[in-house]
Symmetry: C2
Subunit: 242 residues, 2 copies
């Protein structure tokens, strides 16, 4: 006990992003938070997470807390940052290694909601426990920055999607309109997307192509790090969670 108190504690937390229809109808960027059930910050909202166990990989720990709090599996998972300021926890010294994740919107609907787990609009959060507001701000910044130079947007979508759906991800996350024609040109030039040959029927207009991501291309370039995390970055869609 006293030994543990005199050491630096190591925790893993995860910022989980999803896109969900708001009350008004249009989709918005949301993330799940858990209510703290003990001091410090008892009763306040915080990022899902917990102490790192001895026989658990960092990314595994992030996936696990994600699964435990939301019953979801990440479509995209990446390490965000290690936070270790001296004063970030009032009593003990905690270093938090934070991950950020994307989950598909339609899965997010099936996610757990309870008294102690709730989804919040990413841009309008209450005052969170610890330095978690800063952490979420940074995760948001990384998400927005990365969306512009990388191809991670489909992490919010299902296996197949129209270009309009993909474009809507950009518009909602970046909070600005995107020209449909130029967007199409950009996506086609990137070569990361493949037409399935099927079309989405039932629209009150010309039926759009359905696309699928070219899984042979890695979503983002992690450099030499992909040697380490590549097999874990993309969790199979068809994987059963047992």
């Amino acid at each position: 006990m006293s030994t543990a108190e005199s050491q630096v504690a190591l925790a893993v937390s995860t910022v989980i992003f999803a896109l969900r229809p708001s009350a008004a109808g249009e989709p918005e960027l949301v993330l799940p938070l858990v209510r703290r059930i003990r001091e410090p910050y008892e009763g306040q909202w915080a990022l899902p997470g917990g102490p790192l166990t001895l026989h658990e990989d960092l990314a595994e720990a992030a996936s696990r807390t994600l699964l435990e709090t939301t019953a979801l599996e990440p479509r995209y998972l990446e390490q965000l940052y290690a936070f270790g300021q001296l004063d970030r926890s009032p009593d003990d010294r905690v270093v938090s290694i934070v991950y950020w994740a994307l989950v598909a919107g339609d899965e997010a609907d099936r996610a757990i909601q309870s008294e102690n787990v709730q989804w919040f609009t990413a841009d309008d959060l209450p005052e969170l426990a610890f330095d978690h507001n800063l952490i979420v701000d940074y995760a948001l910044w990384r998400l927005r920055t990365k969306l512009e130079y990388s191809r991670i947007a489909h992490g919010f979508l299902g296996e197949t999607f129209t270009l309009a759906q993909l474009r809507e991800v950009y518009e909602v996350v970046l909070r600005k309109p995107v020209d449909p024609g130029n967007f199409r040109r950009m996506v086609e030039a990137s070569g990361t997307v493949v037409a399935t040959g099927e079309r989405l029927a039932g629209t009150p207009h010309r039926p759009p192509q359905l696309y699928r991501y070219d899984t042979s291309i890695d979503l983002t370039d992690h450099g030499p790090l992909s040697r380490l995390s590549a097999p874990r970055t993309y969790v199979s869609l068809r994987g059963e969670n047992t």
Copy 2:
């Protein structure tokens, strides 16, 4: 003792980059390594670092090990990644939070060299302890990637420098020739550099302008994280190390 063994240990290491003239005369990218003086990997080269102490910030710990092993202060310091695979240390479980740093070349000459601290060419390293080869590869990748879209090159240089010197940083780090005219246009357009009005004399050709970095502009955009690390990112040149 046994309590410590059953917990996850937390260490901070730093990849330190400098530019130094090679034996052949032209500058090359080098980094200091320390020889391990105990098991595991006794006798092998490893990144400078050590356990995180209870009352020390992460970036401080990185700066400290940097100062201890090389007697240098970083011109640029940034968190690289937290490495935590289960098998990265043979006996115990260690999570290493790794930083990477740039030090000025002329200062690097004054750096410590000893039996157990030596500088190596970054692209031609021996087999290192633990997963440190992977870590250096990743740090190199980040350095090269970041150099292209960010303005960190002057971290290798002194307070004033010519555009040719700045361009040489790019050429050596990126391992490709850079067109002088286009480079000048790019740097001038970025607005991060200010002419001092002085010129470098003694060259066998037209004397070049000396420039200085515009310190009012932050070197890189860390987003919301600058709230946290901005004052620490840039360590004053004139600061005495006491």
